[in-house]
Amino acid sequence: MSLTLNLLLNGVALGSLIFLIAVGLSLIFGLMGVLNFAHGAVFAWGAYVGLAVYNATGSFLLGILAGTVAGIVIGWIMERLFVRPFYGNHVAQILLTLGLMIILTEGIKMVWGPNLLGFDKPAALTGVVDILSDPFPIYRIFTIGIGLLVLIGVHLLLTRTRYGIIIRAGVQDPEMVQALGINVRRVFSLVFAFGAGLAAFGGVVAGPSFGSLNPDLGMANQLNAFIVIVIGGIGNFPGAALGSLLIGIVQTFMAYYLPDVAMAISVAMMAIVLIWKPEGILGVRR
C-alpha cells in the first residue's frame, strides 16, 4: 500500500471519529438553533463510562451500550433543565452549555481522577490486516465502518422514517408541525438526547483509537467538530459529513508531513471558508 493510500485511510478513520461528534452538534443546531458547548464533554463522558463498563465486564459491546445510554441520559437532563427554559435566548444558552461543560469535565476528574487512563482495544479488533500487502490496523477499519454506519443510519433516519420527516420539517417551520398535531417539544428533546447519545457513542468508539483518556478530551475533539460544521455549513447534515472527511484527511496528511501545524491548518481552512462562503461549503444563506 502506498503511503498516500495509507494516509488517506487514516484520514478517513479520523474523519469518522470527528463526524460522530459533529453530526449530533449539527442536528441539534439545525433543529433548535442551540449550539451545545457541552457536547464534547458528553463525548468524554461516553468514553469514560464505556471504559469503566468495558473494564468491569470485559465486553466492549456492553461498554459501547453503557456509554451511549449515559450520553442519552445526560443529554435528556441537559435539555430538560437547562436548555429548554432558554430557547430563543442565545447568550444564555451559550453561557449555560459552557457551564455544563465545566461541570461535566470536573465531574470526570472527580469520579475517575485527573490522570490518563489507558483504553485498550478489544481483542477482536486488535492487530492488523494487510491491505495491498501493507499492514493496516483493524481498529481503524472498524472506526471507518462505524462512521459509515452512522452516516447511512442517520441518513435513513432523516429520509425514511416519520421522525426524520418531522425533524426536517421542524427545522423549517416548527409551528406548522405543531399545527399538524405533533408535539414538537418532545421531538426536540428526543433529538437533543439522540445527538448527545451519538456523541457519547463516538466517545467510546474513539477511546481505543486514542489509547488513553484524559478529562479534557472533550474540548479538543469538540473544537474539531466546530471547525467541521463551520466549514460544512452549520446545521447541514451532508455538510457535517463532508467537513469531517475533509478535516480528517487534511489533518492526517499534515500530521505526517508538517506535524507542528496540523491544528493550524484546520483553523486556516475554517478562516478561508468564512471569508469565501460564510454560510459553509454546503450551507445555504438564511
Binding site: 443546531f29 438553533g33 449550539l35 458547548f37 437547562f82 429548554r84 427554559p85 432558554f86 430557547y87 430563543g88 435566548n89 442565545h90 447568550v91 444564555a92 451559550i94 453561557l95 449555560l96 459552557l98 457551564g99 455544563l100 465545566i102 461541570i103 470536573e106 465531574g107 476528574k109 472527580m110 417551520d173 416548527p174 409551528e175 405543531q178 414538537v184 417539544r185 426536540f188 474540548m219 479538543a220 473544537l223 466546530f226 471547525i227 463551520v230 452549520i234 507542528d260 501545524v261 491544528m263 493550524a264 484546520s266 483553523v267 475554517m270 478562516a271 468564512l274 471569508i275 460564510p278 454560510e279
Partner: protein, 334 residues
C-alpha cells in the same frame, strides 16, 4: 441621577483609600501578592465584560489577548535580558492584540453570534498549540522561567501600588468608554442590534472596535501577570484562563465594571481558600466544580450577578429579568 453618580464616586474613593492602606496594615507578602493578582485579574475580567456585558457577545477566547501580553513580556525580557524593555513589550502586546482582534473579529463577527463564540474558542486552541509547538521561541510546554523583571517590581509594596494604580486607571478608562457615545452605541447593539443598524450605524465596526479595546486591555493585564509570576507557560492560553474571566464576570455581575472587580476578588480568594483546605478535604481540589454550579445558578436565576442583583434589590425591590428575543416563530412554539 447626579446624586447617585456622586455616591458612586464616593464609594469608589472609599474603597481606593482602604486598599491604599493595606500595605501599611499588613506586611504579609502573601496577602499583597494575592491582592496584586486580584487587581490584574480584575482588569482582565473588566475587559471581558466590555464584550459580554456591554456589547452582548460571548467570547470563549479572551485568554488569547491575556496570553499574548504574558508571552510578549516573557519572551522579550528573557531574550534580550533587558528588564527595562518591559514597557516596549507591553506596547508590542497591545498592538499585537489589536491586530489579532481585528482578524478574529472580521472572520467571525460578520456571521451569526454563535460563530463568534466557536471561532474565538478555536483560535484560543490555535494559540495554545503555537505556544506549545514553537518551542524555540516560547519554550514549549515548559514555558519561560525566571523572567528577569525590573528590580522595581521586586518590591512587593511598590508592585502593589502599581497594580492598584493600573486597576484604577483601567477602571476609569473603561468607565469613560462605556459612558461615551461609543459605549452607549455598544449597549444599544446589545439590546437590539438590528435596530441600531436601521438607525444608520455600521454595527460591525463597533463590535470590532469593542473587541480591539477589550483585547488591548487584556493584553496589558497579561503582561503584568508575567511580571508578577516571573515565568510564563502555555497555561496563559488555556481554556481555564478564559473560564476565569467568564466566572469572575458572571459571578460579580455582567454589564457593570465594578462587578468583575468584585468577582475577581471573590473567585481568587475562594480559590485560594478552597485549595488550602483541599489538603484536608481532597474533594475540594475540584473547586472548579463548585464554581461551575454557582455559575449555572447565577446564569439561570440571577443573570445580573452578585452586584447587579443587590443593586436591583436596592433600586426597585425586585427587578425583572431581561431575555433577548429572537426568531419569533421558533419562540412562539417553544
Amino acid at each position: 441621577m447626579r446624586a447617585k453618580l456622586f455616591n458612586n464616586n464616593l464609594w469608589l474613593g472609599f474603597v481606593l483609600v482602604a486598599l491604599c492602606l493595606v500595605p501599611f496594615v499588613s506586611s504579609s507578602k502573601f496577602l499583597l501578592t494575592m491582592l496584586i493578582s486580584v487587581f490584574l485579574m480584575a482588569v482582565y475580567s473588566m475587559s471581558y465584560d466590555l464584550l459580554l456585558g456591554y456589547t452582548g457577545i460571548v467570547s470563549f477566547g479572551h485568554t488569547i489577548f491575556f496570553g499574548l501580553g504574558a508571552y510578549s513580556v516573557g519572551i522579550l525580557l528573557s531574550k534580550t535580558k533587558q528588564p527595562n524593555l518591559i514597557w516596549a513589550a507591553i506596547l508590542i502586546a497591545v498592538v499585537g492584540a489589536a491586530v489579532i482582534a481585528l482578524i478574529i473579529g472580521f472572520l467571525s463577527l460578520r456571521v451569526k453570534d454563535v460563530y463568534f463564540s466557536m471561532i474565538t474558542l478555536a483560535f484560543a486552541q490555535l494559540f495554545f498549540i503555537i505556544s506549545e509547538k514553537w518551542s524555540s521561541f516560547t519554550g514549549g510546554g515548559d514555558g519561560i522561567a525566571y523572567v528577569r523583571v525590573p528590580t522595581f517590581f521586586n518590591d512587593r509594596v511598590k508592585f502593589y501600588f502599581i497594580a492598584l494604580a493600573f486597576l484604577a486607571v483601567m477602571y476609569l478608562f473603561l468607565r469613560r468608554v462605556v459612558n461615551s457615545p461609543f459605549g452607549r452605541t455598544l449597549q444599544a447593539i446589545r439590546e437590539n442590534e438590528q435596530r441600531v443598524e436601521s438607525l444608520g450605524y455600521n454595527v460591525l465596526r463597533y463590535k470590532l472596535a469593542s473587541l480591539m479595546i477589550s483585547g488591548c486591555v487584556a493584553a496589558m493585564a497579561g503582561g503584568l501577570w508575567t511580571v508578577l509570576q516571573k515565568y510564563v507557560n502555555t497555561n496563559v492560553f488555556a481554556m481555564d484562563r478564559t473560564i476565569d474571566a467568564l466566572l469572575m464576570t458572571i459571578v460579580g455581575g455582567v454589564g457593570t465594571l465594578f462587578g468583575p472587580i468584585v468577582g475577581a476578588g471573590v473567585i481568587t480568594f475562594a480559590h485560594e481558600w478552597l485549595s488550602s483546605l483541599s489538603t484536608q478535604y481532597p474533594f475540594l481540589e475540584r473547586w472548579l466544580l463548585f464554581f461551575g454550579i454557582l455559575y449555572i445558578v447565577i446564569v439561570m436565576f440571577f443573570p445580573k450577578g452578585i452586584l447587579g442583583t443587590i443593586r436591583d434589590k436596592w433600586r426597585y425591590k425586585g427587578g425583572s429579568r431581561h431575555a433577548a428575543s429572537d426568531s419569533k416563530r421558533r419562540e412562539s412554539v417553544l
